[in-house]
Assembly symmetry: C2
C-alpha cells in the first residue's frame, strides 16, 4: 500500500508445489541505505525464479554497474528488477526435461523511497514491465489476491492512516488464510513512514500474536453479528 503517511508491505510465508511440497520462505526482501533509501521487494509465483532474481539483485550490489543501492530513483529500480526477471527467465525457462505446463513466471511488488523523491510502489509483471500505484489505486496485491480484496476495496483510501491500513492488511490476510491453503502464517509486515529513510523492522506475525488474534476474533464475531442483524429475504 502506498498511502499519504507512508507505505505498508505484507507477505505470507507459504510456498507450495502441490500440497505435499509446502514450505516456509520469506517473500519480503529489503535493500536499504539508512538515510538514503529503502527498497522492499515482495515476490510471488515461481520460487526458483523469484529467489534467483532477488539473489542476483543482491549479488550485484557489491559489483560495479547499476544496482538497487545505486539507481537514482525508484522508476529505475523497477526497470532494473524487470530486466533481471527477464534475464532469469531467459536462462531458466528453456529446459528440455521440463513439462510444458510449468509456469516459470514471478510477480514482484517493489516499493520504497529514495532521497529526493516521494515514496513509490510498483507492480512488476512476469513479463518485466510494470505499473505504479496512484492516489486512485493506492495498493497492489500479487499471488492469491482475490479472497482478501473485498475488505481492502471497502475500507482503504489513500488518506487512510498507516495503523488503520495495517489493521486492514491483517484482516485481508486472515480472510485469505481461512479460504485458501496455499497462503499461510506467519505474515511478514513492514510499515514505512514517508521521509524516515530509517532501517526497517519486519514484524513477523504468527498464530500466537495477541493483536492478530484479537483482530481475527473481533472481525469474525463482528461479521456474524452484522450478518445476523440484516433482515432475511421476504420475497420467497
Amino acid at each position: 500500500m502506498r498511502l499519504a503517511e507512508g507505505l505498508i508491505f505484507a507477505s505470507d510465508t507459504r510456498t507450495n508445489a502441490g500440497v505435499d511440497h509446502i514450505a516456509t520462505f520469506r517473500k519480503m526482501h529489503v535493500f536499504e541505505q539508512p538515510g538514503d533509501r529503502l527498497i522492499v521487494l515482495l515476490t510471488s509465483g515461481n520460487l526458483a525464479t523469484s529467489q534467483s532474481v532477488v539473489g542476483l539483485l543482491r549479488h550485484r550490489c557489491g559489483l560495479s554497474g547499476d544496482c538497487l543501492l545505486t539507481v537514482p530513483n525508484l522508476y529505475q529500480a523497477a526497470v532494473l528488477v524487470g530486466a533481471t526477471v527477464r534475464e532469469i527467465l531467459a536462462r531458466d525457462s528453456f529446459n528440455p526435461t521440463a513439462g510444458q505446463s510449468i509456469d516459470f513466471g514471478c510477480s514482484i511488488l517493489l516499493g520504497g523511497q529514495i532521497q529526493g523523491e516521494e515514496p513509490g510502489l510498483f507492480n512488476i509483471y512476469p513479463q518485466g514491465n510494470f505499473i505504479e500505484a496512484s492516489v486512485d489505486t493506492p495498493y497492489f496485491q500479487i499471488g492469491e489476491a482475490k479472497y482478501g480484496k473485498p475488505i481492502i476495496d471497502r475500507v482503504l483510501r489513500y488518506q487512510t492512516p498507516l495503523k488503520e491500513a495495517a489493521k486492514c492488511t491483517l484482516i485481508s490476510f486472515d480472510s485469505t488464510v481461512r479460504s485458501n491453503l496455499s497462503v499461510g502464517l506467519p505474515i511478514d509486515m513492514m510499515l514505512y513512514r514517508t521521509g524516515s529513510f530509517t532501517a526497517a523492522t519486519i514484524c513477523r506475525i504468527d498464530g500466537s500474536d495477541p493483536y492478530f488474534n484479537q483482530l481475527r476474533k473481533g472481525w469474525g464475531e463482528g461479521l456474524r453479528k452484522v450478518f445476523a442483524k440484516l433482515p432475511d429475504a421476504d420475497w420467497f
Copy 2:
C-alpha cells in the same frame, strides 16, 4: 447450496470475451416435471460450450434414450451432463483456425431432487467427472468464486435456514460484483424446499431490487463499523 431445508441456486448474468465483448446471458437452466423432479444447471466457462451442452440436453428431452427428465436419479443426471460436456468438447475443441490459448472448457453445477431421493448437488468439472456436496461441504461455486467465498465460509452451515442462506448468497455476490468486472447484475436466484417438487420460480435481482439494496448498504456500513471498532496495531 445443499442445506437441511433445501437448495439454493444463484448465478450472475454477465459473460465476457474481453472487456469489449460483454453481454447478458442467463446461466441458470431448469429441467422440471412438477411432482416428479426438479433439476437445475448453473454454468460457467466457455459460453459456446455451455450453451451447446444445455441445448443438446434440452433437445434430447423430446427423443428416445436417456434425458434429464427420465434418468432415475441425480447421480445419473450428473453422469449424463458430464458425458454431454465431453461430447461437445470432442466436437468443438479441434479447430484448425483457433489459437492455442482458447479454453473451451465449462464447469456446471447440477442440483435438484428426483422422487424417491433426497436433494443433491453436483459440481461437474470441464473433464466431465464430478463431485457431490455433503453435510461437511454444503456448497459449490464455479466461475469467479474467490472474492465471495470468505463470507460463505464464515456463516454457512448445513443447518443454516434457507432464507438466511439466501441472504448470505446475495452478500457473497455483492462482494464479487464490487471487486470484479466479469461478474455483474442481474442475479438469478432460486430457492427449492426439500420435497416440494413444485415448478420453480427464478427471481431476477437487479440494481433496483429494494431488498438487495438494503443488504448491500447494511452490509457495507456494518463492515466499516466493525472495522472502525477494532483496535489499531500498537506494535509499530
